[in-house]
């Protein structure tokens, strides 16, 4: 089957469809795909979705940038805020947020600090994370790395920067994490969700151009593969038309 859309476009529509009208959410830094997903949801079915919580509200869509946290993307928006208001949003919570990481483990925990070694004597130091308060003060979050291989999908992260489901329901509850937390892991290859009993990752659907075996071969642990694991519904013609016409005319998602 030939693909007439890119893996990042597929990721964008998967997440856009999961955002509901009237919700409030934000995207973090390096947020090309999340900001595209939010913009698509606003155009398609969620005109009352508010982008907010990161010092700006409702930027006018028109061009995608790697960061989306700069005035090229935000010059026309509805309002700006400061880091004091980030404090409020972190406590009052959003409906959704997006994360990525150096490592993601089978419980949806995310590591952005170090791989190997220890925090202060790391083999490989990552960037850390600014917005980790949003991990569970936003009702749910999406994990959306733009690569999917055995190096970033690992059995257990070396450092929990963003807690997902910890090591299962008991530890999640013990840590005081009462919200849904990670809902979907959306990668260039597949969509994964969490088994409600074990809170472990399982395969939900596989994108066009990938087989279940491809996904498993590129995942550093063996996720459950339920019988109903199917194909990810590809972008519709309408979705692609809006995405390419109004949100990403320069084709950043196809680069």
């Amino acid at each position: 089957m030939s693909m007439d859309f890119s893996p990042l476009e597929q990721m964008t529509v998967v997440m856009a469809r999961d955002l509901a009208d009237g919700e409030l959410g934000a995207a973090g830094a390096a947020a090309l795909v999340p900001m595209a997903a939010i913009a698509l949801a606003r155009e398609m079915h969620a005109p009352n979705l508010t982008v907010g919580g990161e010092m700006f509200f409702n930027p006018v869509a028109g061009h995608l940038y790697p960061s989306m946290l700069d005035d090229r993307a935000l010059g026309r928006c509805e309002a700006s805020e400061t880091f004091i208001e980030l404090f409020g949003h972190s406590h009052h919570g959003l409906d959704f947020f997006f994360h990525s990481g150096l490592q993601i483990d089978r419980y949806g925990n995310i590591n952005l600090h170090h791989v190997g070694g220890s925090l202060h004597a790391p083999k490989m130091r990552g960037p850390g994370a600014a917005n980790l308060s949003y991990c569970h003060t936003s009702t749910r979050f999406y994990i959306c790395p733009t690569v999917h291989n055995v190096r970033n999908f690992v059995d257990t992260v070396d450092f929990i920067t963003i807690p997902g489901n910890m090591s299962g329901p008991d530890s999640k509850a013990a840590a005081g994490l009462v919200n849904e937390g990670p809902r979907l892991v959306v990668t260039p290859r597949a969509v994964m969700d969490f088994d409600p009993e074990t809170l472990r990752l399982r395969l939900k659907s596989v994108h066009c151009g990938n087989s279940i075996k491809d996904v498993l071969d590129n995942t550093g642990f063996t996720p459950d593969v339920p019988e109903n694991t199917g194909r990810t519904p590809p972008p519709t013609a309408d979705e692609l038309a809006v995405l390419r016409g109004k949100i990403d005319p320069s084709g950043a998602l196809r680069a």
Binding site: M55, I160, T161, I162, G176, L177
Partner: protein, 305 residues
């Protein structure tokens, strides 16, 4: 008697900052990631040979902190996220991995809360929204305690009071009233209120009447500002909207040099530091090195938005 202005030159600003940081090495940088960072002030400070610094920032920083590390000025990093966004910070990584510097595991609420406590003049800020992360096990700035009203477990962060904060904005008057014209003001106001000494670079000084005609446009009142330095393109290679866009090519080329140094070839990075920092070029020389054509492009890109 006449009122004193707060305008000084870049070298004097650097000297003042360096002297203050010898007393207490806590420096804080304004802006966010690649926007409105006080890079000319940072270069001038590095040219004084400043070292042993503890660096704070709004919760996201990249190029400037990496540059300070490459120049050997930093001992400890208190910035939650250090990244160039499209790639990692090479010299930050090298310095942490080789244990030349300590990069603390922090989160935005600790940094913002600590600045809030300092700005508000209270001995701590309570934080509730920190759960489950290994950052909590390592964060050196938080202390668990129980809420005196509800009994719920909370964290207390003490005031973060930088000895020197360096900011960049678009405009100021000679008295030190600062005007950000960009969409976001980041944590700049909070830092100004939280710090002992505040030095601000601006792309241009404006007449007193510009301020008096629109007092609400002043983002940081002069009361919080110790000195203002007029530095055209003072944020380069980061952005100063609406005056000029970020110079991503410059930052990428710098990062390439850092990555080469990680692989053992440090000559390019050393030459970069010599050209832009150690030789202490003034801003005119620096801009000449960047090139008028490039600066015009960045200005045009910002104007087009």
């Amino acid at each position: 008697m006449t009122r004193s202005t707060k305008t000084i030159g870049l070298k004097e600003a650097a000297a003042r900052a360096a002297a203050a940081l010898k007393e207490r090495p806590e420096i804080c940088l304004g802006g966010l990631f690649k926007q409105s960072r006080p890079v000319a002030l940072v270069r001038a400070l590095l040219a004084t040979g400043a070292d042993g610094l503890h660096v704070y920032s709004s919760p996201g920083a990249g190029y400037d902190v990496d540059l300070m590390i490459a120049a050997g000025a930093i001992n400890e990093v208190f910035v939650p996220g250090v990244t160039l966004e499209n790639r990692l910070c090479p010299n930050f990584r090298t310095a942490v991995e080789t244990q030349q510097i300590k990069a603390h595991a922090l989160d935005a609420l600790t940094v913002v809360g600590g600045l809030m406590a300092s700005a508000h003049g209270v001995p701590f800020q309570p934080i509730a929204a920190l759960k489950g992360s290994d950052v909590l096990k390592h964060n050196p700035l938080i202390t668990p305690f129980d809420c005196p009203l509800t009994g719920q477990p909370l964290y207390a962060v003490p005031p973060i009071r930088p000895r020197v904060t360096l900011l960049h904005a678009q405009e100021a008057d000679r008295w030190g009233n600062i005007r950000h014209l960009s969409t976001m003001v980041y944590a700049d106001q909070l830092m100004a209120r939280a710090s002992d000494m505040v030095i601000v670079s601006v792309d241009r000084l404006v007449d007193d009447d510009v301020v008096l005609d629109d007092p609400r446009s002043v983002t940081i009142p002069a009361h919080y500002v110790d000195a203002v330095v007029e530095v055209p393109y003072g944020a380069h290679p980061t952005a100063s909207f609406p005056n000029y866009a970020m110079d991503e090519e410059h930052i990428d080329a710098y990062a390439d040099l850092g990555d080469a140094a990680r692989r053992g070839d440090g000559a390019g990075l050393a030459a970069y530091l010599e050209q832009h920092v150690t030789s202490a070029p003034d801003q005119t020389q620096y801009l000449h090195n960047i090139g008028e054509a490039r600066l015009s492009e960045l200005q045009a890109e910002a104007l087009a938005l």
